[in-house]
């Protein structure tokens, strides 16, 4: 069984870098950037460089289910060209619907071959959620449901990366009432490590960092309680935000067109979700470190957090309260409850004086009688 699409001997990353015409200098620049991103000491640069020089490239299968391809877009636009060229371009990817040259049966065959040949060695990247509704008919490729494809590919995968919010937590297609039954990957595959890289999309450098970490150390990066790599998701956007001094000073934008907005005050009161969002935007920024949403005057919408689409409104701090209409939030509800309580207590006080009149009179009389006895 021969197939030209899967080369027999895997070249190392460095060989591919050279073949692509990059200089050694470019390569080292890329290595030191990645080392810094994945949160390693400078001394680890050598280790990372060595790994990329000596280790054969890891075969990757990249599946697309219910998604918008923004993760792939983000990845190929990651700031260093080597990321796109070497980690992703034709070389590492054995199967990805969006970018591969092959199509139809040829493509399916390439995937089957990789799965067989590199059983237990390949990395499975998943972009998109799996629709579980209506037996999975909402997203089918080559006559198979997403779930079937996922289970088949997960079987022999060494590790699974859930790219973006779709694969990590369902994203907008899982918003209430979730018509397609969109389900994140970690709920469907058992017994395999799943690395969640949430964000809509995740930052390209973060995605590259995760792959470089896997290649260098041959094991998954340290994850937090929610399964996200700690190197990129342990800090809130709020804690790395350059507008933070305005937050601490109590200076806020009240509406998008006010003087405070022009002065660059904190966007907390116009709904910035930075204080509850774990991501690296404040540090790495987007598009070659050009900017990030808050820098352009718009609050963080919490795109890397679970349920950000249902948990609250984009331009408001308070979240609406399920079942009490769009305008009601926890505070409206609380204030009504407080009012009702106040009225009930006032009523109770009045009733006490009516119904317990005799009891209270007795107590008063008792006191008077005591004094009376003193005199007699």
């Amino acid at each position: 069984m021969s197939n030209e699409l899967v080369p027999t001997k895997q070249p190392t990353y460095y060989e591919e870098v050279e073949r692509k015409g990059y200089s050694r200098r470019d390569f080292l620049q890329f290595v030191s950037m990645m080392t810094a991103f994945i949160g390693l000491e400078n001394s680890a640069i050598g280790q990372v460089a060595k790994a990329l020089e000596t280790k054969p490239r890891v075969p990757v299968i990249w599946l697309h289910f219910q998604e918008c391809t923004c993760c792939s877009e983000s990845f190929i636009r990651s700031s260093h060209p080597i990321v796109a060229d070497i980690l992703l371009d034709k070389i590492s990817l054995d199967y990805t619907e969006t970018l591969m040259a092959a199509s139809g049966f040829q493509a399916e065959e390439a995937m089957q071959n990789t799965m067989k040949k590199y059983k237990g060695e390949y990395i499975l990247c998943v972009e998109g959620s799996v629709p579980m509704g209506a037996d999975g008919v909402y997203c089918m490729i080559g006559g198979k449901t997403s779930l079937q494809i996922l289970e088949e590919a997960a079987e022999g995968a060494k590790a699974i990366i859930a790219w973006g919010s779709c694969a990590s937590n369902g994203c907008v297609q899982a918003a209430k009432p979730n018509p397609t039954g969109a389900t994140p990957i970690h709920k469907l595959v058992k017994g395999k490590p799943v690395i969640k890289v949430p964000g809509c999309p995740p930052i390209g450098e973060v995605m590259a960092g995760v792959i470089v970490h896997l290649v260098t150390f041959d094991r998954i990066p340290e994850l937090d309680g929610l399964g996200r790599p700690k190197a990129f998701y342990s800090k809130r956007v709020h804690d790395t935000c350059y507008r933070r001094p305005f937050y601490d000073a109590g200076l806020y934008v009240e509406s998008f067109d006010d003087a405070n907005a022009r002065k660059g005050y904190c966007l907390y009161k116009v709904g910035c979700k930075g204080p509850s969002t774990y991501n690296a935007c404040g540090v790495m920024k987007w598009n070659n470190g050009t900017s990030f949403p808050i820098q352009s005057g718009h609050g963080c919408i919490g795109c890397s957090e679970e349920n950000y689409w249902d948990n609250g409104r984009l331009y408001d701090r308070a979240s609406s309260f399920a079942g009490f209409g769009i305008e009601a939030n926890a505070d409206t509800f609380g204030k009504v409850a407080l009012g009702v309580t106040g009225a009930a207590l006032a009523g109770h006080a009045v009733m006490t004086n009516i119904k317990k009149k005799k009891l209270i009179r007795n107590l008063e009389d008792e006191g008077k009688q005591s004094e009376h006895e003193l005199k007699s």
Binding site: N169, D224, G225, L226, S234, K235, R236, D239, P245, F246, Y247, D248, A249, G250, L251, Y252, E254, Y268, K269, K273, P275, S276, T277, Y278, G302, E305, E306, N307, Y308, N311, G312, R317, A318, S319, A330, D331, F333, G334, A337, L338, T341, G342, L345, H348, A349, M351, T352, K355, K356, K358, L359, I360, L363, E366, Q369, S370, E373, S376
Partner: protein, 255 residues
């Protein structure tokens, strides 16, 4: 001189709330008030105007600092109260918060009849907190727990100390900080409603019972009718193992 004791109750001075309970109570009340005020300010900050540079101002910073200091006081005070539930007097004992006996539940019904239905109960209610109050405090302690878990859970990611870091699993349970924060916010309303009703009921019981309910959290004393005091049945909502407190027989007693 003829004294008519039949109509006038003779009262017993009973030491109900020991000093540590009173310290706990007022520290708790102050911490909660501070947490509610600062919590509200964190949730929806005031629209302050200033010409000062941001570097010279730390308004929101202080609000958060106060919230966190009060939070630590609140947390350790709460732990202390749990400890005191095991070593304190019988009125403060942990058993008096949990409806575990028929007697406890019967007294809850009695309190309901007297306080809400405004019936004239002949039954006596306990000297310490009554069964209904005890049960409500029990629920309140759960709210304390929720607030500490969600609060320290939110705090964990910015903390450097191991104690708050130990709570980092909490946001993971809620799937992230967004929902954790909302739960923390909703629970605040329980505290507000509790405080309003609680203070009202303290006034109410002081008024209709004449036992010195309000000042009991000051000096620790309540003034109990002699005949009620003599029946231990009326002391606490749940039976308290009295044997532990009876003076031990000594060899000299036997001779």
């Amino acid at each position: 001189m003829k004294t008519n004791y039949l109509h006038v109750h003779r009262l017993r001075r009973v030491y109900v709330w020991e000093l540590p309970v009173r310290y706990y109570h007022w520290l708790n009340a102050l911490a909660i008030i501070a947490l509610i005020i600062t919590g509200f300010l964190i949730a929806s900050p005031l629209a302050l105007q200033s010409n000062q540079e941001a570097t010279n101002r730390f308004v929101m910073g202080w609000v958060r600092v106060i919230h966190f200091i009060a939070a630590y006081i609140f947390f350790f005070n709460f732990l202390f109260r749990i400890y005191w539930g095991f070593v304190g007097n019988k009125y403060a004992n942990w058993k008096q918060f949990i409806p575990t006996s028929k007697k406890f539940i019967k007294e809850m019904w009695t309190v309901f009849k007297i306080d809400i239905l405004m019936l004239r109960g002949k039954e006596h209610i306990s000297i310490g907190h009554n069964a209904m109050a005890g049960f409500i405090y029990f629920l309140t302690f759960w709210a304390f727990l929720i607030q500490c878990l969600t609060g320290f859970g939110l705090y964990a990611s910015t903390a450097t100390w191991w104690l708050p870091k130990m709570f980092s699993w909490v946001p993971a349970v809620f799937g992230g900080d967004i929902l954790t924060r909302q739960v923390h916010h909703w629970t605040m309303w329980f505290f507000i409603l509790f405080a309003v009703i609680h203070v009202y009921l303290v006034f109410y019981h002081d008024y209709v019972e004449g036992r010195g309910e309000m000042s009991s959290m000051g000096g620790g004393w309540k003034f109990i009718e002699e005949d009620v005091f003599h029946d231990e049945e009326f002391h606490t909502p749940n039976k308290h193992d009295a044997n532990k407190h009876k003076p031990k027989k000594t060899s000299s007693d036997e001779s």
